[in-house]
């Protein structure tokens, strides 16, 4: 999987298709890149992958000697870290403020930007590929997706939302139609159990939800908002997502009910 065993299809016919999966940051990243100058796009993919491994090194809370681990032990100042550390911590602070504290980059009093790093890293990787001239970019980092452009002329990107209560099923399909950028992030308990913490109590969030999917232009925010809305619960979470500009949400409760913000219907695939 980590090898560059990619499939490059029909190089003569536009747009070319470059696919790749990469195991990094404790999960698997799936790339689907269309069009652009093949050599340039392939180089950009290699750069994006290298950047993801660097993010893992710097931000992992599981690595004792990562910059984040050393930062949280006060062995390092933010100014001594890679510039991305300050950038991500600043984004986390914004997310914390805009979510009224429901999203947090602190855990048990220590710095832990895990909740925002992945969305940010996926978005950055996708943007790097788009900037290299790819016509369509899809990057899925462990279930959080950032897309740019289109996969083919006249066909928008389409993202299925996994149904947490029906294994292998889909709860919805969201389309990027009419938009050049689409981010879809899901927070929930289906894969890793109750791992979302209520920042106010430090304990697993007490919520009636099993999954929240947030749709917006940028994955950094979509990912953070999904986490925050999940901790809020269906009632407050839905109302809050409804209040955010450019953001739609789909919420699935433990009682197997599906709710969504009013504008999501416009994004149905």
């Amino acid at each position: 999987m980590a090898e560059l065993a990619d499939q490059v299809n029909d190089p003569a016919q536009a747009p070319s298709v470059l696919r790749h999966t990469e195991e990094v940051m404790g999960t698997v990243f799936s790339f689907d890149v269309r069009g652009g100058e093949p050599e340039t796009v392939r180089s950009a993919l290699e750069e994006a992958i290298a950047a993801l491994h660097r993010v893992d090194e710097v931000f992992s809370t599981y690595r004792e000697h990562s910059q984040i681990s050393r930062l949280s032990r006060d062995e390092l100042a933010v100014g001594d870290c890679d510039p991305e550390v300050a950038e991500v911590l600043a984004l986390g602070a914004v997310a914390e403020r805009l979510s009224g504290g429901w999203f947090s980059t602190r855990y048990e009093g220590r710095i832990d930007p895990t909740g925002i790093v992945k969305g940010w890293a996926v978005e950055r990787a996708a943007r790097h590929l788009a900037a290299a001239g790819a016509r369509g970019v899809s990057v899925n980092g462990g279930g959080d997706v950032q897309m740019y452009g289109m996969p083919e002329p006249h066909r928008p990107w389409r993202v299925g939302v996994s149904d947490p209560l029906r294994s292998g099923g889909l709860a919805a399909v969201v389309s990027a139609a009419g938009s050049d950028e689409l981010a879809v992030a899901t927070s929930g308990t289906a894969e890793r159990g109750a791992h979302i913490v209520d920042p106010r109590t430090g304990r697993p969030a007490v919520t009636d939800l099993v999954a929240v999917t947030v749709v917006g232009p940028r994955l950094t925010w979509a990912d953070a908002w999904a986490t925050a809305a999940f901790a809020m619960g269906s009632r407050e979470g839905l109302a809050w997502l409804e209040s955010l500009p450019e953001v739609e949400g789909l919420l699935i409760t433990a009682g197997d009910e599906v709710r969504c913000t009013g504008g999501l219907a416009a994004r149905w695939g």
């Binding site: 299809n9 298709v17 997706v145 897309m147 990107w157 996994s162 894969e191």
Partner: protein, 167 residues
């Protein structure tokens, strides 16, 4: 096509599906005592809902024949308008299109006009309807969003199936 299509929050739900429906007639039905969502049920074929693409009676103009009267269009395409069924939000009627044995379109041709109810449907019933329809279909998608999976979890994810299939 239908004027409701553009204005309605009950937008067209396009299901570019891979699985076959094989002429099955799907009707929107609602059991008052069950979940608040809408369910797609497959009733036994009635006299007026003959399967197969050649039942050229009627049109797809949403005339809403009783028992789901069939109407066919071009080769292999069949539209069926279901009965108007009472839901907790009011009467809802849908039309489905089956193309070459695949469910390709679900459109609401009648639904409550009242604004508040409209919103309710938009937020609760439509996602449920979509979900039920998708449960029976394999949609044409490029990626799957779901609760964060680990490297091990990826192996049994829909995304990995997509990656293996090469899209």
């Amino acid at each position: 096509m239908h004027p409701l299509k553009r204005k309605s929050p009950l937008r067209r739900i396009v299901l570019a599906s891979a699985a076959t429906v094989s002429g099955m007639v799907l009707l929107l039905s609602m059991k008052p005592h069950t979940s608040p969502g809408l369910a797609l049920a497959a009733p036994p074929p009635g006299p007026s809902s003959s399967t197969g693409a050649s039942s050229g009676s009627g049109g797809s103009s949403g005339s809403g024949g009783s028992g789901g009267s069939g109407g066919s269009a071009m080769t292999g395409t069949k539209t069926v308008t279901g009965d108007s069924v009472p839901t907790r939000y009011g009467a809802v009627q849908v039309r489905i299109t089956v193309k070459n044995g695949k469910l390709t379109d679900v459109t609401a041709v009648a639904y409550p006009q009242d604004n508040a109810r409209d919103q309710e449907i938009n937020r609760y019933a439509v996602p449920q309807l979509t979900r039920e329809a998708l449960a029976a279909q394999s949609a044409s998608i490029d990626a799957v969003s779901g609760a964060s999976y680990t490297s091990a979890g990826y192996q049994r994810s829909l995304q990995s199936a997509l990656d293996r299939a090469g899209g």
